[in-house]
Amino acid sequence: MSGSNYFPREEYEARWKRVWDAMRAKGYDHLLVWSRGAGSYDRLGNGLWLTNFANNGTGQDWADDVQMGAWTFSAVLFRDGRAPELHSAQPPQETEYARTVCGELIVHEPSLITGLPEYFRKHGIEGRVAVVGDDVLPGLYDRRLRSLTPQIEWVTDEWFLLEPQRVKSAREQEAFRTAGDITTHALAAGMDALIAGETSAEAAARTAMEIMRRGGGFSRIDMHHGAHAERFLLGDMLYGYDTSAPKKGDMVRGWIQGPIFQGYWLDPGRTAVCGGRPTREQRHILEGATEVCKAIIKAIRPGVTPRQLGVIGEKAAQRYAGDGIDLNLGIFGHQMGTFYGPHIIPAGDPGALEDVKEKQGTSANEIMFKEYEKIDEPYEPGMLIAVEAFIKHPGVGMSGLEDHVLVTRDGCEQITNTPYYL
């Protein structure tokens, strides 16, 4: 068991500074960031990014409506410009607290939910408190917390940390390279299995082995084939794989999702044909998804905007349009960090942002305006971008592909390099 941290303390101090800068910019005096345990990965990445703390609970223990134990949750509190406090109800004897990086650790017994209000009161914390993780803390606990903190005005700002996390440090980039290398090998192993006609479960197992033997982790591995893979983006709804095997000529698809290395999230994917001999129609959509991604990746460099990339991707996709072919133009990518970054590469030019905003609530195919907020913001070196494309041809299959790149000074560096299966 390694006793040393991957990142040195100064890495975290630099992150805290970025958080304080962002707090000042938004006028926040206090910020509370919720995370849940490593077993569930519910926004675990935020707590990990800030303090290197991961609650070791499964996150699947029963709700505690008596003492409000909520022990698999933790919260990072920024206040008064000091090093952040990590609040946890995990017992010290179960915790490698020496590996956490924070100003102080505050252990609550028995409840973080009832303890925090007492702590706030005792330390004079009142007024506006920005909170990240409202989508993590269950209503049971949140209602109690709010009822016990009448002096607090909770300000939900779920995307607050995206800005401090946007540009990756040199050490983070190295972690992402490692994560990319892990998934490159793992996804290739899974795809080789599917192409060879092994079961989805076997393909997932080979993928998992490659991730785990390299010290990585994942939340989900999707391996599927045939009609299911044409209809559904991902594999078996429960596990992502089953014990069925593809037949020769079936389209097969593999996807990895999760905190691959040091909590950094990647989600690469590939499509191929079992037996390795695609038909002309199959090759058409395989090439289509590949060429869209290649065109976008080729254009990624500092200064380019997601909107521009969306136009490039759409133009590449149109070359593969045809009767019955669904170019499936959802998005062409998104930012990445300790989980999916919501700022997207649009599939094409969505028009004026005001028009996008007005579309909210006006149709069944509603657009989440906030995803588009940054489409005119130029990329900078150090950003991690996921590029993806899907093309569907009913009766033939669905081709999907996703890769990840780091923006560099003069272009980009592709960190996931699983082969294309054309």
């Binding site: 022990w71 995990q90 607290y97 252990v107 609550h108 028995p110």
Partner: protein
């Protein structure tokens, strides 16, 4: 089983009233008919104004009030705590405990007595501890009325303590006792310091038993 003052087998100077702790969530208050003279006599403390002073040991003749009547209701209150740790060296900083008692309705509070648990004697800790008693009609203590605060300089547990109010009784539904220790104190405060809190209210002594939850542990 209930304590009878002066039990010879007692090793603790003041023995507590022991309640069954099994009735989680079911409040069975224990009201003991007494008057303030008796209530105070058991502490051998008198005087005017708000008083916070140590009680005498149970063996003292002046502390030997007659056994209390049988329980009618019992309140069980849970102790909570937080403490600060330095992640680098594990050195403990602030240690803060509190317990909140729900009297079920707004009631007059004439005096409050703290009693230690039977089995725990917090000797050996030599750190000053700051104790406060507050009350409120608001469960969230958004509005706080301080009753008293004091420092115990040389003991982790104020094993005998009485606060009473001869002029005007405080009226409140919720009573909260809190204690904070200064570093380098390294141990639980209230959990080892109290077994019961008795509240004298309009001639009735209401006892609240202290319960400490198990430390959080893995359940799944």
């Amino acid at each position: 089983m209930y304590w009878s003052p002066g039990t010879a087998a007692s090793r603790s100077p003041i023995r507590p009233i022991i309640f069954e702790h099994g009735a989680i969530g079911g409040l069975r208050d224990r009201e003991m008919q007494t008057n303030r003279r008796q209530f105070i006599a058991r502490s051998a403390i008198g005087g005017f104004g708000l008083v916070a002073a140590p009680l005498l040991p149970a063996e003292s003749a002046r502390a030997g009030a007659s056994p209390l009547p049988a329980a009618e209701r019992q309140i069980i209150a849970s102790i909570a705590r937080y403490y600060r740790l330095s992640p680098e060296d594990g050195v403990q900083g602030e240690d803060f405990s509190w317990v909140q008692i729900d009297l079920g309705a707004t009631r007059p509070i004439d005096a409050i007595r703290l009693r230690p648990p039977e089995t725990s004697c917090s000797t050996g800790y030599w750190s000053s501890i700051h104790f406060c008693i507050d009350c409120s009609d608001d469960q969230g203590f958004g509005e706080i009325r301080p009753i008293t605060n004091w420092r115990a300089e040389h003991s982790a547990a104020p094993v005998n303590f009485l606060a009473y109010f001869p002029q005007n009784a405080v009226h409140a539904r919720y009573v909260r006792l809190s204690a904070s220790a200064s570093p380098p104190y390294n141990g639980a405060i209230l959990p080892s310091g109290f077994g019961t809190i008795e509240i004298l209210s309009k001639g009735a002594a209401i006892s609240a038993a202290m319960r400490r939850w198990e430390t959080n542990h893995r359940r799944g």
